[in-house]
């Protein structure tokens, strides 16, 4: 268990199951504070599953189970007395598809602070402005905060979701393929934004896009798939953490052949 403060998360022998099916096996990982850590790997390798275990989002899926230790600042997130609601207040999440609430831009951003009991128009106004500025959205929407969040473009919606997340000032922002539904220009905006946000927040991002991982992240975890033929010809597949290294080293000098083949685009 780490107490030195350099790491936000420490995963020790993490297995994740959906029902009786193992989705991820034996992940050991240290995620540093105030860095961007990217999870890459082929579809079905469990990278999103691991990401969602970091703020107990998996709790919402019936039958999902996490074994092993997921430590956040030294505290086991899956300890009996840990409240998942409190966990998610500290570890926010941005999803693959932009999912603003069908409410005004203002109410979207004010949603989290209001949950925390923040009242008073002046205070909320200030939080909304600060968060929208933080997500580089303020200049585009400042005159029209009453407009529905759904009236924005896809890229703007995703930045609204980021603004909504930073409004509650979490310690970590988890991003599950945040740009995969966006066009290249909107994607670039999100990437720029991440580079600024990392000065304040720890960011963990799942991405299908290896160039994106290369462009934005400090560390990269490459997940891969293992298979086993069971009785009766049923094939069992699960994900493993194949390699974890500083991004530059992983992409220029990978330790395993599998990683090399993946980053060369030979499978995925």
């Amino acid at each position: 268990m780490t107490e030195n403060g350099a790491h936000a998360f420490e995963l020790q022998g993490v297995n994740i199951y959906y029902g009786s099916k193992m989705a991820v096996n034996d992940v050991n990982l240290m995620i540093p504070r105030q860095k961007i850590t990217a999870f890459i790997g082929p579809s079905g390798c469990g990278k999103s599953t691991v990401l969602r275990s970091l703020n107990r989002m998996n709790d919402l899926i019936p039958g999902a189970r996490v074994q092993g230790g997921v430590f956040f600042g030294g505290q086991d997130l899956y300890a009996e007395n840990v409240d998942p609601v409190e966990v998610r207040r500290r570890i926010g999440m941005v999803f693959q598809k932009p999912n603003p609430f069908p409410k005004s831009i203002y109410d979207n951003v004010a949603y989290g602070p209001r949950l925390l009991g923040v009242r008073g128009k002046a205070v909320l106004d200030e939080i909304v402005e600060r968060s929208l500025k933080g997500a580089f959205l303020w200049d585009e929407v400042r005159g029209d905060l009453k407009k529905s969040g759904l009236a924005l473009s896809g890229g703007q919606q995703q930045r609204l979701c980021i603004a909504r997340t930073i409004a509650v000032e979490p310690e970590v922002i988890l991003m599950d393929e945040p740009a995969s539904a966006l066009d290249p220009i909107a994607t670039q905006a999100i990437e720029e934004l991440m580079k600024v946000l990392v000065q304040q927040f720890t960011i963990v991002i799942v991405t299908h896009n290896m160039q994106q991982a290369q462009r934005v992240s400090d560390y990269t975890a490459f997940y891969s798939i293992r298979k086993k033929e069971e009785q009766g010809g049923v094939e069992n597949r699960w994900g493993i953490l194949a390699e974890y290294a500083p991004t530059e080293r992983l992409f220029t000098n990978p330790a395993s052949e599998e990683t090399e083949r993946y980053i060369r685009g030979e499978f995925g």
Binding site: F95, F101, G112
Partner: protein, 332 residues
């Protein structure tokens, strides 16, 4: 590429070749008549138009008979809407006592059906495990399949004695609007629960996740995100429930009372939850069940009631449509 003639000689024909032979058997690419399609299209049009004509027909009958009633000289519109009693024998035609009873029973039914129906919907959509839901929802929907006459006797033999036991024999009459209304609420509950549950289940999971990701509890997510997003569907469910309550006949005919109440003046008896009162539907069914001579003023008066009832439900439907469009939170 093989030609059709070659295809015929091949022992194992590929479908591609078969298709080509079929296509070439047709000589032109020009339109050909398809009579079967026309017939079916006409039949479907007939199905669609039938309900419109039925509605128009009903409206015509209601309207023309009601015109005879208002044209009889025995009643004018002002009296119709203000007179304190409905007593055809005494040629007193005030619709309001009947309307008031309908409103009372509807009110009581909604007191039961809206909170319980919405509660059941929230439980089924948000809390119940899939298995619980799969068991519970069909059972709930069985309630909707029970004939209303059974509910009527349930009101009379269970709810009324219960109310009399609680509030006292002297307070609660044998026939009373509260009993009929409460049981009507039980009858409508599954409709509201089922429709509201559909509305809640249609709210995308991603919105719930967004809320949880911001650190909301389950209840906060439901109250602040899911319910507002499903609001138009829920309100539509309420309005359908109210429409059913307004139009419901058997329960009120059996349990609410067999005579119109008196709206104001001496011995006014309307708006008393534990008193007897006859609703619009209850009155129509009682009077038309007796020996009523055709084209008498009594007979025509029933159509005036029917027309009022029709306008009631029409207005409710219009409100429902307006609300659905106005408050729809469009989510992706």
């Amino acid at each position: 590429m093989s030609t059709p003639s070659e295809a015929g000689t091949m022992s194992a024909r590929s479908t591609a070749v078969d298709m080509r032979a079929r296509r070439e058997a047709r000589t032109t690419i020009f339109r050909r008549p398809r009579p079967g399609e026309t017939v079916i299209q006409l039949f479907l049009l007939f199905c669609g138009v039938l309900s419109i004509f039925t509605t128009l027909g009903i409206l015509y009958v209601l309207g023309s008979e009601a015109l005879l009633f208002f044209g009889s000289g025995l009643v004018d519109l002002g009296e119709f809407f203000t007179a304190p009693v409905w007593q055809p024998q005494a040629e007193q035609f005030g619709i309001m006592p009947l309307v008031s009873a309908t409103l009372m029973t509807t009110l009581f039914s909604m007191i039961v059906a809206i909170p319980l129906g919405l509660g059941a919907a929230i439980y089924l959509a948000e809390y119940a495990k899939p298995q619980t839901r799969a068991t519970l929802k069909p059972i709930l929907e069985i309630l909707a399949g029970i004939p209303t006459v059974v509910y009527g006797y349930f009101a009379l033999t269970f709810m009324t004695p219960l109310l009399r036991g609680i509030f006292g024999q002297n307070t609660v009459s044998i026939y009373n609007v509260a009993s009929a209304g409460l049981v009507m609420g039980i009858m409508i509950l599954p409709t509201i629960a089922s429709m509201s549950e559909d509305a809640l289940s249609a709210v995308p999971r991603s919105l719930r996740e967004a809320s949880f990701g911001l650190g909301s509890t389950k209840l906060e997510a439901i109250l602040k995100v899911v319910l507002p997003a499903g609001l138009s569907g829920i309100i539509a469910a309420f309005i359908v429930g109210i429409s059913r309550a307004v139009g419901e006949t058997m329960i009120v005919a059996l349990a609410a009372g067999a005579g119109p109440c008196k709206l104001y003046g001496e011995n006014a008896s309307c708006f008393q939850p534990f008193g007897a009162a006859e609703t619009m539907t209850g009155h129509i069914v009682r009077i038309s069940g007796g020996d009523l001579s055709y084209n008498s003023i009594d007979y025509n008066s029933l159509f005036a009631i029917g027309l009022t009832l029709f306008i009631f439900t029409l207005v409710l439907n219009l409100i429902s449509r307006w609300i659905t469009n106005r408050f729809r939170e469009v989510y992706q």
